[in-house]
């Protein structure tokens, strides 16, 4: 197996990010840790993270160098590019050799890249189910694939960035409820949290992120665990109306 960073390094990145958030770091400081970790641990030259709701509403939160900053700006001004594709399709977009790639969904952006020292681009969506937060772009100067292990590592780093942005969006660390960010684990094992989120979406006609925030707010206000409240909602022991604000 090639030499790819192990779980210790990932845990180090995760705890650095979470510690920064506890110290009231803003989004830029938190995702900077992740971007720099990408550059350090992966064979890429630059990394950036942007938050967006659609092609019109987006902002680069952090860019590790001038080139990746230009990559973001170009995508934004053209309204196309790998980060939008990753965001819209909810899948990573991995282009190992821009010069040889066929049928790209963003021809104008690809054209612009010819003049840049950018040979490969890897874009990953930041998402939790139907909650889309943005995308991370990685670039390298020389063409070449990320190995499966490197993609796995990139995905783990993306999860850390996603968790950080969710924490900030839901202001989850503003109140110390003893759970910290643990309930935000992006996991299918917390099925009932996702189901309860869906129930609240339907009950109040609100978007997923607000439903999740309401679930969490209720748990905090009643001094209970998010998982327990979710279970009670799913099993109909708590009516959604009790979470009305």
């Amino acid at each position: 197996m090639p030499d790819v960073a192990g779980p210790e390094e990932l845990n180090r990145v995760r705890s650095t990010v979470m510690a920064a958030l506890r110290d009231k770091a803003d989004a830029a400081e938190a995702v900077k840790v992740v971007c720099l970790a990408c550059v350090e641990l992966l064979p890429v030259d630059g990394a950036s993270i942007s938050v967006m709701t659609d092609e019109q509403h987006r902002a680069t939160v952090y860019a590790s160098d001038e080139i990746v900053s230009r990559i973001e700006n170009l995508q934004f001004s053209l309204g196309e590019g790998p980060c939008f594709e990753a965001f819209n399709t909810q899948r990573p977009v991995l282009v190992a050799d821009l010069a040889r790639a066929l049928a790209l969904a963003w021809p104008a952006f690809a054209e612009e890249m010819i003049e840049q020292p950018v040979a490969a681009i890897f874009a990953f969506p930041l998402q939790n189910g139907a909650i889309n937060l943005g995308a991370m772009d990685l670039y390298r100067r020389l063409p070449g694939w990320l190995s499966p292990q490197e993609v796995a590592l990139a995905l783990a780093l993306v999860d850390i960035a996603t968790t950080a942005l969710l924490v900030l969006q839901l202001r989850a660390l503003d109140e110390d409820d003893g759970e910290g960010e643990s309930w935000l684990v992006l996991s299918t094992e917390r099925k009932q949290v996702h189901q309860a989120t869906g129930i609240l979406i339907a009950a109040f006609g609100i978007p997923a992120e607000q439903a999740l925030a309401r679930l969490r707010g209720y748990a905090f206000a009643t001094g209970r665990l998010v998982d327990d409240v979710a279970r009670d909602i799913v099993t109909r022991r708590i009516a959604p109306t009790e979470l009305d604000q």
Partner: protein, 296 residues
């Protein structure tokens, strides 16, 4: 294996259906999640297994329980992941089938797993690798309520189903060159989260339990020949309305259903509803007709 095992004629029909359905899904644009769910369902229906579960491995070696026919099976798989032992884990690690016809004799090998499985009423486990050549990407796990070896014929069917799904998963990866399995797994896992959210939406709007909500979701995706994850996403985002998934007359004020909802949508399309609203899905052929469809 027990009295619920179908007769051989029924079984043959179902077997053909299962492979046709799998092949059909693979030819169309498909969801990995959907394939895996189908696989666990078919194993229960065709093989007399009491429950089936499926684990996939990413390339960092971590395993995830991605699909299961029942909640019990899911919990057993999670339990194996938590305690880091069990037949499914051994199967993935070795790439070889792990066949345990009587769990009560295996307590030494898996001191944590066996008591837990027995407690849940499972007395046999047959774990088959999802493997293509040298690469093992996961395991299919069949849990039985009676001790006893699985008949050779059933094992063959299980292997063939697992192989078909494996080829499908790895094929998509080959087609989309850069998309390594791990990425697929992540996309699949995120789809799972979206599907759970969508189940919640339907459960509330239609007074369904979560299984019924899932069936309604899946029935809608099938009848519109759209990806399950795409449909779930559109529902959670409010692009599709819950009413479109629910039978006429079913409203949020109706009492909870006691019978399962299978396909609330009629097979035909209603104008203005369906795949033409799904901007990202390519048009599909309207029927799965009898003419062979060439693979792309």
């Amino acid at each position: 294996m027990d009295s619920t095992t179908p007769s051989s004629a029924q079984r043959e029909t179902r077997l053909v259906q299962a492979f046709v359905e799998l092949a059909d899904t693979l030819v169309d644009d498909y969801d990995v999640v959907d394939i895996l769910y189908q696989l666990t369902q078919r194993c229960v229906q065709l093989l007399g297994a009491a429950a089936a579960g499926l684990m996939l491995s990413d390339q960092r070696g971590s395993l995830t329980a991605v699909a299961s026919s029942t909640e019990e099976a899911r919990l057993l798989e999670l339990f194996q992941l938590q305690t880091d032992e069990g037949p499914c884990l051994d199967c993935v690690r070795t790439g070889e089938p792990v066949l345990v016809s009587d769990l009560s004799t295996a307590a030494e090998r898996w001191p944590n797993f066996v008591p837990q499985a027995v407690l849940q009423g499972f007395l046999s486990v047959h774990a088959l690798p999802l493997r293509l050549r040298r690469e093992t990407i996961g395991a299919l796990n069949l849990f039985g309520r009676q001790p006893g070896p699985m008949p050779e014929q059933d094992l063959q069917v299980a292997r063939a189903l697992a192989d078909t799904a494996t080829i499908g998963i790895l094929h998509e990866r080959a087609v989309r060159r850069g998309e390594v399995l791990t990425e697929q797994l992540q996309t699949a896992l995120n789809s799972r989260i979206t599907i759970e959210q969508a189940k919640g939406v339907l459960a509330y709007a239609g007074h369904l339990d979560m299984d019924q909500a899932f069936q309604a979701l899946r029935g809608y995706a099938r009848s519109h020949r759209a990806r399950l994850s795409e449909i779930a996403y559109q529902l959670v985002k409010g692009v599709l309305r819950p009413e479109e998934f629910l039978s006429p007359g079913r409203t949020s004020s109706s009492p909870p259903e006691t019978v399962g909802v299978r396909h609330p949508e009629p097979p035909g399309r209603r104008p203005g509803v369906g795949h033409d609203r799904l901007g990202t899905s390519p048009p599909r052929r309207a029927t799965s007709g009898s003419a062979p469809t060439p693979a792309p």
